[in-house]
């Protein structure tokens, strides 16, 4: 295992733990995106470019976007009820 792979695996573990430790939902979305980016690089280093492309598109664009929209929708409707 090369140093690059070891480093990327370590980064994946660190960013994955980061998602759990960040408790604020909006920041958590960006933590997920960062983890997705690290996983993309890891898959690329493991010579799986097809999986890397899927991960890049789904993990760093689609999933964070849908989460952000869901969070925005929940927050604003709650604020409206309070008012």
């Amino acid at each position: 295992m090369s140093i690059l792979l070891a480093l990327l695996l370590l980064l994946a573990a660190v960013t994955g733990t980061g998602i759990v430790l960040v408790r604020e939902p909006r920041r958590q979305v960006f933590a997920i995106a960062v983890n997705g980016l690290v996983l993309t690089l890891l898959f690329l280093a493991l010579q799986a470019p097809d999986v890397a492309l899927s991960e890049l598109a789904v993990g760093t664009v689609v999933v964070p976007l849908l989460f952000l929209v869901a969070i925005a929708s929940v927050r604003t409707s709650r604020a409206g009820e309070d008012a």
Partner: protein
Amino acid sequence: MSLRLRLILLALSALVLVPGFGSVIGHIPGFGSEIPAYGELINRIGPAERQVANMVSAINFDIRGLDTLGEEFMLLAAIAGTVVLLRGQRGTDTADTAIRLPGRPLVPRAEAVTLVCRIFGPLIAVFGLYIVLHATVTPGGGFQGGVILASGTMLIYLGEGYAGWRRSVLSGWLDAMEGGGALVFTLCGLGPMLVGAAFMENLLPLGIYKDMLSGGLILIENLGVALAVTGGFTQLFLEFMEETREPAAGEDTPSE
């Protein structure tokens, strides 16, 4: 269940599971040590019998094409379910305004954002099409290209705003693309049966190895998947973005 009880349960189950877990870890092959037999077989028959350079496409669309057809319908069902759950009056009018937290300032869109989106939007669309068309040659394919194309449409929202985005991305077209893509894939499976071949048998001319138009039926299946994924994911974005609009007057907001 008290914390103490949980810890005891954890310790007990660890006692049972850890030895097995340890022995499995001890027996897994070394990292990247050997290529399994199946991989070698695929590497041999992919170029020889299908003229395909991207083995992942050869597996997904030809050797295990039936599995991908199943996934295709899984995607269709998942997106249809989301649309049924989220469809409502809210956000269907292009002039609907965004809901916002009271007291938060409304920042106008900078011209630079519009410019960047107008430059990169078409580039991303071209890149997505490139990924779709070169499925049998380079990494990627219908799914990856489709997701890239779908996320490219979000740049229209970012650059032109909700109204402009809704005017250019039409829901009816997306439905047709999604269903039509799945239909193309299904017909690719049933078509060969008309001439007496097996389901999804690759009867089309295979082309030249490493050429864009290689792989025969794989290319058409791939276009079907690209259509379905582009339509499906854009539809997903559309339904979710509608939820960020101000609810229409008189519409019941769900109480949860």
